[in-house]
Structure formats: C-alpha cells, structure tokens
C-alpha cells in the first residue's frame, strides 16, 4: 500500500519506457463502472484490487447457466505429454461471471491446461468439469458452452469476415435466420460491420483479433477462453477489446479465462493463478498476491557517476537494470521519504514501481516471467506464414 502522502507529485515524475513497463500507483479512486482496461498504462494497483472485488460483487451467477457450480472445476489434473509432465496435480475453480487469469512463462502448462478444458486433449488423471459438464463424457456440451480465442490467428484469411463467421455459425449448428442475426450482433460488437465483406487477409492484427473474439462470442458461450489474447496489439485496440469483454461479463455473466505471460493482461482479473512447470504455485486476487508476495522498487538514474557509486554503496542490494539505471528495493513509505531526503537532488530520473505481479513471479520462481525470445518467435512465425502462402 503506497499512501499518496509519501509520494511525489505525479506530474513531476519522469516516465521512461524502460522494460518492463512499470505501473505507477496513485490513489485516484473512481467508481467501478468507470473502470476499464482503457487506462491501462496509468492504472492504479489499488484500484485494480478495488475494482476487481467490486466487479465480482456486481456480477450475479448468470441465469442462463445450465448447471449450478463453478464455470470451471479442475481437481487433481495430471497430464503427460511426450514423456514429460505437462500438468502435475492441478486443482482450480473458476466462478461464473468472473475473470480468471492463468499466468506463467511459455511452457508452463497454460496451453496444455486450456487444451484439456477445451476438450482438445484428454487428461491422464483427475476430474475436469466445464460449465458443469465433464469434459470426457460430455465433450459436445462443453464445446457448445465455450468460446475459444487462440494464441495464434485461427481465421481463414482467404474468406471474408462474414464468411468466417458464417462458417463458425454453421459448424456450431446455428440455423440460418439466427446465424444472420448473430453475425450482425457480433460484428457490431467489435465494430467491424463496415468490413463485413472484406477478405480477412487485408485486416490488421488488431482487426483479426477482434474478429476472432467476435467469432468466439457468436454462439453465446458461457465461458470464453482467451489464450494470450492481446499479443501484438496496440494499446488502443487492447483497451477496446477488454472493454467489450468486461461489458459482456456485466451484461450476461460471461466467464473469462485468460492465459498470458504478459502482466498487463491480468492486472484487472478477479483472480490470478500463477502456474509454472505444470504446477500451480500461487493463487489469489492481484492485490492479494502483490500484497503478500510483491516487492516495490525505486528505479533511479543518478545525476553523475559519482552519485551512481554513492547510491550503490548506500544500497548494496540494488539491481543494475541498465548501465545507468538502478532498481532499489523499497520497503515502506518511510523508505521513499528517507531516500528522497538523502538523494533527492542527486538524481536525473526517478520512478517508483509498486509491487507488480512480475515481481511476484520473480520472488516465487527466481526467474523473470517474460523472455525476450518471444518477440523473435512471433516474427518468425509471421515470416513463415507469409512464405507459406500460396
């Protein structure tokens, strides 16, 4: 908890684009209705906490729920894949109408878990229920009640937006009249009505993502799985998509289950589940996790090399983030006040980073969450896609 008192004026701070992007915590509390992913870059961690809880109070168990109980129930799930353990005794429960995030690095088992939940893969051991149906025994019911937004694009980019949706509708067995209505509805939802007959190949990444989300919502699923949903999207598009999804949650009790290795994606989730090497290592609200496991840092750039040396000497447990910048572990508000008193006039740049989930992950596993090779992988995939096009 960072009280405003010990915090310098926001306007006075230098915002740098150093990676990872920090979240500045302030205290401008707003009612939860106004809360949206749109302000992501300036979001308050306390607000996230507050808003998360508020939203979960606002959402009632949805009337359309066919069966009582949680949206997703997983008990003692184990899965081996290619001789390796992909999931090891995973248990979790996702409440209806909530937003649940699975956080973990690549290869942690997120996609394996989603595959099991989406009936793409059978579990070796354990009980898995989605929307009240057992994934093994009633896979058709499960598939009808879930919507999937995959990590990689899964649109047919040689068809138009409408044709992609029409295909989806037919495959989900929606009769003609209802199908046409559903297409109108979801296209309007993601503001792609004007692109109805455009071929998907001409779409930007964000438009494709929106179309995929529209498609996943077309058959009115109770649960929407979003596997790395906003990778490669600009902030504006990302904000708009989250705004849609949160509206869906409010309006019809849609359950969201997001997997990601981007912290930004999950800050406003109701619950976060951190998964690594096939095991759940922590679960709770973002606030809880940060409160219990997080660490604040003060990112500073000294005015002169001499000051830099003095800083290092004064705070031996600081990390060198770059040749110039230092990250100094910050304790409570008194620490910041004391620090400013001593070094306030010897700094070129200063930035406060409150407890982040990234920090949580770091302290739990001793590793950073996001590896730099992700971007390259994506670039390669896109290059391959272009090359493979006939």
């Amino acid at each position: 908890m960072i009280p405003a008192a010990g915090f310098p004026n926001r306007q006075g701070l230098h915002f740098t684009r150093a990676s990872p992007r920090p979240y500045i915590c302030g205290l401008s509390l707003r009612p939860p209705e106004e809360y949206g992913r749109g302000e992501v870059n300036q979001t308050n961690c306390q607000e996230a906490d507050f808003a998360g809880r508020s939203i979960s109070l606002l959402i009632q168990p949805h009337e359309t729920a066919e069966r009582a109980g949680p949206a997703v129930r997983v008990e003692h799930l184990s899965l081996k894949y290619g001789g390796q353990v992909a999931l090891d005794d995973v248990s979790l429960s996702v409440g209806r109408g909530s937003s649940f995030a699975l956080l973990g690095p690549n290869g942690a088992g997120k996609t394996s878990l989603i595959s099991v939940l989406a009936t793409l893969r059978d579990a070796d051991k354990g009980l898995v229920e989605v929307a009240g149906h057992d994934v093994c025994r009633a896979s058709r019911q499960v598939r009808l009640s879930i919507g999937m937004v995959f990590q990689d694009p899964s649109l047919d980019d040689r068809l138009s937006a409408e044709e992609n949706l029409d295909f989806h509708g037919r495959v989900y067995g929606i009769p003609g009249r209802l199908r046409a209505e559903a297409i109108d509805r979801v296209l309007d939802l993601v503001e792609l009505t004007g692109w109805r007959e455009a071929i998907v190949r001409s779409f930007s990444g964000g438009m494709k993502r929106r179309l995929e989300i529209a498609r996943a919502l077309m058959h009115k699923p109770q649960i929407l799985f979003l596997d790395e949903p906003t990778v490669g999207l600009d902030a504006q598009t990302r904000a708009r998509i989250w705004a849609y999804l949160n509206r869906q949650r409010r309006e019809r009790g849609l359950t969201l289950l997001t997997t990601t290795h981007y912290i930004e994606e999950v800050e406003d989730a109701d619950r976060i589940c951190i998964i690594d090497k096939g095991r759940i290592i922590a679960e709770g609200t973002p606030g809880q996790l940060k409160r219990e496991l997080g660490q604040s840092f003060l990112h500073v750039v000294a005015a002169t090399p001499a000051d830099h040396a003095a800083l290092l000497a004064a705070y031996p447990d600081s990390h060198a983030v770059s040749p110039e910048a230092l990250a100094i572990p910050a304790g409570d508000e008194d620490f910041v006040a004391g620090f400013l008193a001593r070094f306030g006039n010897r700094l070129r740049e200063m930035r406060f980073e409150g407890p982040t989930l990234e920090g949580v992950f770091l302290s739990l596993t001793g590793r950073v969450l996001r590896d730099r090779t992700d971007g390259e992988r994506e670039a390669q995939r896109n290059a391959g896609r272009r090359a493979g096009r006939r």
Binding site: P153, L155, R170, G173, G388, R390
Partner: protein, 269 residues
C-alpha cells in the same frame, strides 16, 4: 436425432468453405484447365498420327478407338488425381495456420468435419474432371446424357477416395514444400504405370503382352489400382474395358471407405 441436423449444417458449412476456397483459388482453377489442355491438345494431338492406321489390316493401336479417344478418360483421371491429392494442401494449411483448432473445438464430431472436408475436395475434383468432359468433342468422344451422369457419379466416387488418400498423405508430411514434391512423386508414377498413356492390348494373351512389354512393367500396371480406375471410366465414356469394369468400381468403393477410415485416424492429430 436432435443433434443430427446441427451436424448436417456443420458438414454443409465445412463443405461450403472448401468450395469457396477452391473456386476462388485462381491457381487451382488454372491448373485444372491447363493439365487437360496439355495432355489432350498437345500430347494427344502430337502422338495421334503415330497411333493411327496407315494400311488396312495393320495398326499400332489394336483398339477400336483413336489415340485421343483412348487418352481422354485417362486425362480426366489425371485431373481428378491432381486436384484430389493436392487437396491435402488445404488440410496442411488448416493445420499449420491454426484454422484446424477452430474446427476441432467446435461441437462437430471429428468424422463429420473430415466428411465435410472430403466432400468439398471431392466436389472440386469432380468439377475439374467435368471441365475435361467439355473437351469430349475435341477428342471425338460422343456422349449421351446418361453417360455424362454416370461418368460424373463415378468421378465423384473416385475423387472421394483419392481425396481421403490425400488427407492420409497430409498426415505424413509436415510442410507445404515437402508435400509438393511428395504429391508429384505419388501422382505421376501412379498415372504413368496405369495403362493410361499406352494401351495394353486386351486381345493379346499375357505371354504375347510380355513379348511387347517387359514383365516388370506389366506387373506394375496390373498391381496399380489406378489402372482399374481408368479402365472403369473408359468403360463409361468410350465403352471400352480392358478388365472387367466391376474391378474398377469395387476398388473405388473399397478406397472410399478404407481411405476415409484411415484418414480419420490421422486427421486432427
């Protein structure tokens, strides 16, 4: 029974997508037209004089048909083979570019998805075969309406079997480039070793045949299922059979079921 209609709708959806893709793919259409033109207009016309009669009682092609007529059904089969087996590219495409997952998480059962896809591929291949029928006049093959209907039905069955075969191949090959090479090494040998471009004289006994062709080639031709597939289509189009036609029909029927089941095993893994 209540889940039957949605599945039909789904099969129709999958089929429709394949048709849209096949009809929009100019390259595929072009291939479907250029192949018969090359084979009939160029090869057929080029070789026709070498197979025609010069002296009464002496002839190189001891069949009651001109070379063009003889070649005509084989070119249809070639066109169908190409389109059907190349259809597997669509399966690889779906797998590589993620669309397959969209289909696999849908409530449609896997067999229905495969059926829709294969029906779509078979329809496209039949279309390409039917395009060749337009050239019947050129090859001096006169067709009646029932003959055309019979031929299209048979072509569809053959396309279905070959499309399933293509899906099986797609399961074995991981990349597009690999598949291009692979399909050519499958299609062309099957086609050439099928009594399609040179006739095995039905009036000759086996011993006489061996006198004109080496034993291994004849063995190859007898062992090649495409031989019988071409022969059955010849039976329909020019009323000429080297083998009992039911062998061809039987093989196509077995191929439809056998390859479909095999394809189902490899599809979506």
């Amino acid at each position: 029974m209540s889940s039957f209609l949605p599945i039909l709708r789904g099969i129709h959806g999958v089929w429709l997508r394949e048709i849209m893709r096949a009809t929009r793919d100019k390259g595929q259409l072009l291939g479907g037209v250029s192949r018969p033109l090359i084979w009939l207009l160029i090869l057929g016309v080029g070789l026709n004089p070498y197979f025609r009669g010069e002296v009464f009682g002496e002839v190189r092609l001891v069949l009651p048909y001109s070379y063009l007529q003889f070649l005509f059904p084989a070119v249809i089969v070639l066109n169908i083979m190409y389109t059907s087996i190349q259809f597997a590219v669509s399966v690889i495409w779906d797998r590589e570019f993620g669309f397959l997952r969209e289909i696999l998480v849908s409530p449609m059962p896997r067999w229905a998805v495969l059926l829709g896809k294969v029906l779509g591929g078979a329809t496209a291949a039949t279309g390409h075969g039917t395009l060749v029928l337009i050239l019947a006049r050129f090859a001096d093959v006169t067709l009646t309406a029932p003959q055309v209907a019979q031929a299209i039905a048979y072509m569809f069955a053959l396309s279905f079997a070959l499309t399933c075969f293509g899906v099986v191949l797609a399961g074995k090959v991981r990349s597009f480039e690999g598949f291009g090479v692979f399909s050519n090494t499958v299609i062309l040998p099957l086609y050439f070793a099928s009594s399609s471009v040179f006739p095995l004289d039905p009036s000759l006994t086996r011993t006489q045949l061996v006198a004109s062709y080496p034993e291994w080639l004849i063995m190859l031709i007898y062992a090649n299922p495409i031989t019988y597939a071409v022969d059955a289509l010849r039976g329909i189009l020019i009323n000429f059979n080297q083998f009992p036609p039911h062998i061809g029909f039987g093989l196509v029927g077995i191929g439809m079921i056998g390859f479909f089941l095999w394809a189902l095993r490899s599809f979506g893994r």
